[in-house]
């Protein structure tokens, strides 16, 4: 992908800028992390409307989808089942991925909070109330992620990360396009596009 390489160059530049400032702690700073985009994470798209659904799983650590056969493991961090999102902890999974929702812009989180990470317990899942349903307004009957809502998580390995949902529709379509507004031509739902970053060195600095 081209975009990450640009971000990569920018981050190199910013590292250089930070390195040039002499505040005595820069030598201990880990490298800033790159934001990655993962498109089209399925969310049990096969389940019929209204029927009970399963989850599809993703690992922030590996950046890979995890097969459902591994659902009872700590290999995955986050699960998607239609509009329900679970973290691998508490009543949702055997793992220890905890998190909290912050009302802030993704890029503004320079440092993960030290405390406040919650296990995922029913009925109050960590990643709850994350979208607006448009109802009769335009685009009609669409699920649009609430803006400025970022999940900050801590994986079982103790790595901190942040994540924002960009879209619930396949290929992250523009939702002011006529083809999206008309729900007969709208791309299928249940395909999450997320933007996330993970600091693999155990630091809270992004």
């Amino acid at each position: 992908m081209n975009k990450p390489s640009l971000i990569f160059i920018l981050s190199i530049v910013s590292v250089l800028v930070i390195s040039c400032t002499d505040n005595g702690v820069n030598s201990t700073l880990p490298e800033p992390v790159n934001a990655k985009i993962m498109m089209n994470i399925p969310a049990d798209t096969a389940a019929p409307r209204g029927a009970p659904h399963s989850f599809d799983y993703f690992s922030f650590e590996t950046g890979q989808l995890i097969p459902r056969s591994d659902s009872n493991s700590s290999k995955w961090d986050i699960g998607f089942g239609k509009t329900t999102i679970i973290l691998n902890s508490g009543t949702s999974g055997p793992g220890n991925t905890t998190g909290q929702l912050l009302s802030v812009l993704f890029n503004e989180i320079k440092e993960a909070p030290e405390t406040g990470y919650l296990s995922d317990n029913k009925p109050n899942l960590v990643y709850n109330d994350w979208y607006n349903y448009t109802g009769d307004s335009s685009p009609p009957h669409a699920v649009i992620p609430k803006p400025g809502l970022v999940l900050v998580f801590k994986t079982a390995e103790g790595n901190y990360g942040k994540m924002e949902i960009l879209s619930y529709y396949k290929d992250n379509p523009s939702y002011i396009d006529a083809s999206f507004i008309n729900f007969r031509t709208r791309p299928p739902s249940g395909f999450y596009t997320i933007r996330y970053a993970i600091q693999e060195k155990g630091s809270r600095i992004f």
């Binding site: 409307r49 209204g50 009970p52 659904h53 089942g81 239609k82 509009t83 329900t84 009302s103 812009l105 993704f106 029913k122 009925p123 109050n124 899942l125 709850n128 109330d129 607006n132 448009t134 307004s137 335009s138 649009i144 992620p145 609430k146 803006p147 400025g148 809502l149 924002e164 960009l166 879209s167 992250n172 523009s174 939702y175 002011i176 596009t193 933007r195």
Partner: protein, 795 residues
């Protein structure tokens, strides 16, 4: 002469009840001279005098009424009057009224009056161009100039010469009032939406709202005598819903021996309206009947969307009123209304996985029954006993065209019953105390609401009107409402006016208003069959949650008592404090101007929130008091009547609205939007906030009415401006903050003309001359031409 063609009014003050007669001056002069002629034959008492203005100039055409009798006359072209009567009442008082002057009521002793021909009366100008009455501001019949509030009146003349056939069309032409389409055609006043405005017909509420909106297209205007609009919270007098203000529709009551009025209008889109008004009156009995039929073939503005934008409809209104004067002190009136409307449309619905055409049929009915007994048990006391029963029923059904099978149907039956006793005690001419109490029972039987829901409310109210000092007028009121389902509340209101100069009056009022939680918020029990989420009203929340848990719909891990303890599940009424202040000024005889500054602060607005998650992973919503809103602004008006046959009116309103919690979030940098193309979040700046949806910062209206007297040809041109307003959210933050979310401002031009040929009136006009169209406003469906004919007979 200025007055010859002007409508004048005689005000009879009859045992504290004013009855009004309207008519052409010539008829009144004729009647008055007949009265005079017949009475001189047997007259025992004669008196007269002259009437002058503040500069000692003689006034011509002043109405003089001997209070408590039918004796009335008018000052002649020299400014003199004389009156003869058989018998004088115990308390002798004469009322003098003249356009643009304060009505003066003067008491006399028998000796002062009888055979005196040199009574000298001096009238002082009023801040108002017209000497008008209001029944809505204080629930007593008062002169507008005696009420320390802004009262707007829309006259029958204005309504009938506008060519409009529905109430929404009439109100849309008033400065400061806005019509908004949202689950029906509702009114917006001072930036507050339909659910916060009480609409009355002859003092009784119109019942039947959908998602809070009272659809004004249900009200035909053919029998309206006048419409009074009081802006600002008025719950001290009216209780529930009178939060933004009150609109009172006063229907016609003729004093003629009999009258008949037939009229027919046809508009573009095959919209046809037929009116029949008939009345008859005997010595002590008056009967009034109104029938209206309206129909339209519907209209399709958007070919791409299946079905018509405005459905075809066929509606009937029947209204009846009887007034019976049982004895000089006792009057019974009984009125009733029945309305029924059928709507037809087509829709595309899912039939076995395929989209199939279905017929969409809707029927709604409303009806009222309203007996009122008025007892004037002595000179100073009057008691009203009122009973009001009203119902609103809807039925809707989708039926597949291919096999005539019913896809879905729903019903909604609502009933409203009220008993009320209201006593008015008159201490002096201008000091009146009103005390009343009542009980309201509302019930609802509908799909989506479990079983029959019944709510009860009791209330008591008190109001004092007085003039503590010369030139000061105050009205204070207080009402207490108890309710079976939500917290009890007090609603005070205080208003005062100061007559600074003869032609200048200042007023101010502060009042509280409330809107009770509605049926949805209390009793809804709804699960979306497709998405699976549920919405539960608060009134039986605990038992319904328990039921859902027993049915396995919510997890057995949930401690219901604990869940309910996390919020106050007894809803409070949504409430407002409103301030209004302004002035009325008449710098010249033919010019009147006014301004009203207002601010409404509404708190405890009720909204849904997620209580918990169901076992199907969908949310369970209920209601709570959540948000605060503020609206403020200024409205200006000017009326210029250079000649009797030429009227010019201008109005403007500036409006500023905001959701206080949204505004606080913006200030804290906690409000974001999603870039629709990339999906990336961005922060919204305070300066980008566009206020509440559907509110225009600027609105204006201009009206020009001219009658070419030799041909009796009237032209009525109206221009209405609705400024830029936000109408949708495109970036998923549910506030208006980017250009795509706004609709640009637009002007609407309406022109009507009519010409009288004796009893016959022919009218012709164009609504929306410049052919404006908008998908957002179905009523803005391009130019509509109309033609009408009406025939009036009376005796």
């Amino acid at each position: 002469m200025l007055l010859l063609n002007m409508k004048v009014r005689l005000i009879y003050y009859l045992d504290l009840v004013y009855l009004k007669i309207r008519g052409l001056q010539s008829i009144i002069v004729l009647l008055a001279s007949l009265v005079l002629l017949s009475s001189t034959l047997s007259a025992q008492h004669q008196f007269g005098g002259k009437i002058v203005d503040e500069n000692n100039e003689l006034l011509v055409g002043v109405n003089i009424v001997l209070i408590g009798t039918n004796a009335a006359t008018m000052s002649n072209s020299d400014g003199f009057f004389s009156l003869s009567v058989d018998k004088l009442p115990a308390n002798i008082a004469l009322a003098f009224s003249y356009i643009g002057y304060k009505t003066q009521i003067k008491e006399f002793t028998t000796n002062e009056l009888v055979n005196s021909t040199e009574l000298a009366i001096s009238l002082t100008p009023s801040a108002f161009l017209l000497s008008e009455m209001t029944v809505t501001a204080t629930r007593t019949r008062s002169l507008v100039e005696d009420v320390p509030l802004a009262v707007e009146r829309i006259s029958e003349e204005q309504i009938s010469s506008s060519g409009n056939i529905q109430l929404n069309e009439v109100l849309a032409e008033q400065a400061g009032l806005q019509i908004v389409e949202d689950h029906g055609t509702g009114l917006q006043m001072q930036g507050l939406s339909s659910e916060y405005i009480l609409i009355l017909v002859d003092g009784e509420p119109l019942v039947g709202r959908m998602a809070g909106t009272l659809d004004l297209s249900r009200i035909a205007v053919g029998d309206i005598q006048e419409i009074e609009v009081i802006q600002g919270a008025s719950s001290a007098l009216y209780g529930n819903e009178a939060l933004a203000g009150v609109v009172n529709i006063i229907t016609k009551q003729s004093d003629d021996a009999w009258s008949l009025n037939l009229s027919q209008r046809a508009q573009t889109h095959n919209r046809i309206s037929t009116d029949i008004n008939a009345s008859t009156s005997f010595e002590s009995l008056k009967l009034q009947t109104y029938i209206n039929r309206q129909s339209s073939n519907g209209l399709d503005l958007n070919e791409e969307v299946f079905g018509t934008t405005l459905p075809a409809y066929d509606a009937y209104t029947f209204q009846q009123r009887m007034a019976w004067k049982i004895s000089p002190s006792l009057e019974l009136s009984i009125s009733g209304r029945f309305y029924t409307e059928d709507q037809k449309n087509t829709a595309q619905l899912n039939q076995n996985g395929e989209l199939a055409e279905a017929a969409d049929f809707g029927r709604r009915k409303d009806w009222t029954f309203n007996p009122i007994l008025n007892w004037h048990y002595n000179d100073r006391n009057r008691t009203e006993f009122r009973y009001f029963l009203s119902g609103y029923d809807t039925f809707s059904e989708f039926r597949f065209t291919s096999n005539d099978s019913v896809q879905s149907s729903s019903t909604f039956n609502q009933q409203f019953e009220r008993y009320e006793v209201l006593n008015h005690h008159l201490f002096t001419e201008k000091t009146e105390l009103s005390i009343g109490a009542g009980q309201v029972t509302e019930q609802l039987d509908a799909l989506r609401y479990d079983g029959l829901n019944q709510f009860r409310s009791n209330y008591a109210l008190i109001q004092l009107q007085m003039s503590p000092l010369k030139d000061f007028r105050i009205v204070g009121g207080l009402r207490y409402d108890t309710h079976s389902e939500y917290q009890n509340r007090w609603s005070p209101k205080f208003s005062a006016s100061y007559q600074a100069l003869d032609r200048l009056r200042f007023y101010a009022s502060v009042g509280s208003g409330f809107k009770a939680p509605d049926f949805r918020q209390l009793a809804l029990n709804f699960t979306n069959p497709i998405a699976g989420y549920s919405v539960i009203g608060t009134s039986k929340l605990d038992t319904r949650l328990q039921q859902m848990q027993d049915d396995g719909l919510i997890s057995s891990d949930i401690d219901i008592a604990n869940l309910l303890s996390t919020f106050t599940n007894e809803l409070r009424a949504e409430s407002a404090i409103s301030f209004n202040t302004g002035f009325n000024f008449r710098p010249f005889d033919k010019l009147a101007i006014g301004a009203n500054l207002f601010r409404n602060q509404i708190r405890d607005l009720i909204d849904t929130f997620i209580l918990t998650t169901q076992t199907n992973q969908q949310n369970l919503f209920t209601y709570r008091n959540i948000s605060r809103v503020q609206t403020q602004g200024i409205s200006l008006n000017a009326g210029y009547y250079p000649e009797a046959n030429l009227q010019f009116d201008l109005g403007y309103q500036f409006l500023d609205t905001k959701d206080i919690d949204v505004y606080n979030q913006l200030e804290e940098g906690q409000l974001f939007r999603r870039n629709p193309a990339t999906g990336i979040s961005e922060r919204v700046l305070t300066s980008e906030y566009g206020g509440l949806f559907n509110r225009s910062r600027h609105t204006a209206s201009a009206k020009l009415r001219y009658t070419y007297s030799p041909l009796k040809w009237t032209f009525f041109l109206r221009a209405n401006y609705r400024g830029r307003f936000a109408f949708r959210d495109v970036n998923s933050n549910q506030i208006a903050d980017v250009a795509e979310e706004f609709q640009e401002g637009r002007w609407l031009l309406n022109l009507s003309t009519h010409k009288n040929f004796g009893n016959l009136k022919i009218e012709l006009g164009a609504i929306n001359l410049s052919n404006e169209r908008s998908f957002q406003e179905p009523s803005l469906a391009g130019r509509r031409l109309y033609i009408g004919i009406s025939y009036a007979l009376s005796n």
